[in-house]
């Protein structure tokens, strides 16, 4: 069954879904009403004033089915809250210019990269936030100054005049350090990664014959994380 069909099937038969989850709910209810002293299976909860109904115990004959889920990006859009409207429009245009759709692969916009970057930078340390905000403001201010229009409205030729002088080559782990140069090169790398690591890109890559686009060996949390204990 294709993924989408499976999702439809779940939506179409709420009764079966309720059966599954209903059983779980009963187990939880039973646990809540049982007294700490008498929570062994099959024992009615103790309590002098109430005569509770017998708790239906789960049989656990049920074998966990494989439930296929999708990532939210497949059906939803990231709601950005960090950049203001002008900064976001600048970032979107920057993404369009740096990473347009090419050869059947999605561009920055189609991959939802600017919205993802808004989320990422909103969760980032203050110095990274300052770098992005001031960089986007600089781009917009210079578009206004040189061309009399916001960066979001400039054409490709105008964008090239604003961006190209600041592009640098750099080696691993050593992005440029000069303030605006740092922004434009890191933003380029971030937009690129957010685009190439999107599901939209992966689908296009599979369609082009790539076998394992963006696949890596992921290590789960190996132990309950220490933050649970400190």
């Amino acid at each position: 069954m294709r993924r989408r069909d499976f999702v439809k099937a779940i939506v179409a038969v709420p009764l079966s879904a309720n059966k599954i989850f209903g059983q779980t709910a009963k187990v939880q209810d039973g646990a809540q009403t049982s007294s700490p002293q008498s929570n062994s299976p099959g024992t009615a909860p103790a309590g002098p004033a109430v005569t509770p109904e017998p708790v239906e115990q789960p049989t656990f004959n049920y074998r966990t089915q494989t439930i296929t889920t999708i990532i939210p990006d497949a059906v939803a859009r990231t709601e950005g809250h960090f950049f203001d409207a002008r900064q976001m429009a600048t970032l979107q245009r920057l993404g369009d210019v740096l990473l347009p759709p090419l050869n059947g692969y999605p561009g920055s916009t189609q991959a939802g990269a600017p919205e993802f970057i808004d989320f990422l930078i909103g969760a980032s340390p203050a110095d990274r936030q300052r770098m992005y905000r001031s960089g986007l403001d600089w781009l917009n201010a210079n578009a206004e100054k040189q061309f009399g229009i916001p960066f979001a409205k400039i054409n490709e030729e105008q964008a090239d005049k604003l961006i190209r002088p600041w592009l640098r080559t750099w080696v691993m782990d050593q992005p440029p350090t000069e303030p605006f140069v740092r922004f434009i090169n890191i933003a380029h790398a971030d937009l690129r990664t957010a685009t190439m690591n999107s599901q939209a890109w992966s689908i296009a890559a599979v369609a082009s014959g790539e076998r394992t686009p963006g696949i890596g060996m992921y290590w789960s949390p190996i132990d309950p994380h220490i933050q649970m204990y400190v």
Binding site: R192, G214, I215, G216, M217
Partner: protein, 523 residues
Amino acid sequence: MPEPSTDVLIIGSGHSGGMVAKVLTEKGISCLMLNAGPVVDFEKDRDLKPAYELPYRGLKMPGRLEHVFQSTEFNANTWVDEKEVPYTYDPGKPYNWVRVRLFGGRSLFWSRQSFRLSDYEFKAKDHDGFGENWPISLADLAPYYSQVEEIFQVIGHPDGLPQYPDGNFVVDNSTWSGAMQRFIAAGKKLGVPVCKARSAMGRDGLASSINLLLPDAFATGKLSAVSNVVVRELTVDKNSGLVNGALFVDRHSKREMSVKARVVILAAGCLESTRLLLNSRLANSSGVLGHYLIDSLYGPRIVCSVPEARDGKSTPELMEGDALIPRFRNINTKEKNFIRGYAWNVWGSTGSMDPRNFADYGASLQKKLDSYAGSGFEMSLMGEVLPYYEHYVSIDKHVVDAWGIPVLRVHTQYTDNEFNMARDAVDTGAAMAEAAGFEVLSKSYEPNPPGYSIHEVGTCRMGDNPKTSVLNKWNQSHDIKNLFVVDGSSFVSGGWQNPTMTIMALSMRAAGHLADQIRQGNI
């Protein structure tokens, strides 16, 4: 209940802890191993996933593991979190302390480059007058290197160079790629040797303490191991002054516990072992405990393209394969502005190139990436860092880790010797690449922050003089004869070489000596 006791307490489970456990238990000595983190289950704990399923699309959680440049969102859960075990430093002198507390430690993830130190390192002072000689020479350690190379299945080619000592290799008789042949020829004209790299193949794809050392130790029935316990400090018998065990804390519940032992071996990694000794206020009559911190100079790099491999013409015969340029400076010559030397890792690839190498964007960038794919030829530097008393770690009494244990403060930075070395290395490497007909796309002279190489060594250095060294030539404390430190902290000088083979050869040798001492009743 009587306090439990063990013969030998080993703190740490990486290459050095695994090695001493193997040697001692095989000689019939009971050992208890404590490790600060959990045991890994390769089947359960890892899974192939697309980046788009990760919460940050492979870009890492912001603010997490900021000093672990090697970390990705895929492997973030394998490193020590700085919030759990912090360390401090002067903001103007950052340090990258890269740690793994999983059972097996960093032996799970090392790069596997496998080199012997030469007498240009062991007897460095004899060559240039700087620092101290080691109390041992290559001849002392060679038999142990040979055994370690056998266990770790080191592949390499004997080259007969005194600064790149040959070993007990699985011999690499592979042919050089076309690009590398041109690079070798360019090196010959400049007097720069280009040799086969040397690397531990391990077994079953893994070259770790957990598959090559610890199984032998467990098989003897003489090794017990406890995971997820963090050692707070060592304990001392007030009458004899000898160490007699350790206080530790359960990582999860924070239950405090103690254990007694006849001998204690620290194998927690250079800086953790040093921190433990400093927090225990032990083994420092010399005053040099924590000092002479060194690592390897990493960061300088050159990325080239081989023109003949562009536009779909790349083949494995032309491009694939790696090489090593061993130290060649200050061997038969004397450089003007730096002592010691550096090595280059060199490799060609038929894969795609990183867009960072092209100051371009959009369709124009993609065109270049398509054209240059399969033509990449890269060099990354490994330089020797000089030991100074002023480069040291101390206890920061104002900051504690998740278990209330005071943390380390790191005081170090690179000096002119390292910067001058990096400049010479990149200029020489780029000249070689250009002489070979390659296009240099990007290069950097800049070192990454100290610590980045994950080669921290030197803070419990060995020596014959108890007034100027922490350990003797057997990795044994001058002050406390039943205390050994077998990780990289015993190093007197670092060399350009990855330290793992030397750490294991030293720990094998130290464990053999300890077993003899126990048998003779001296400990």
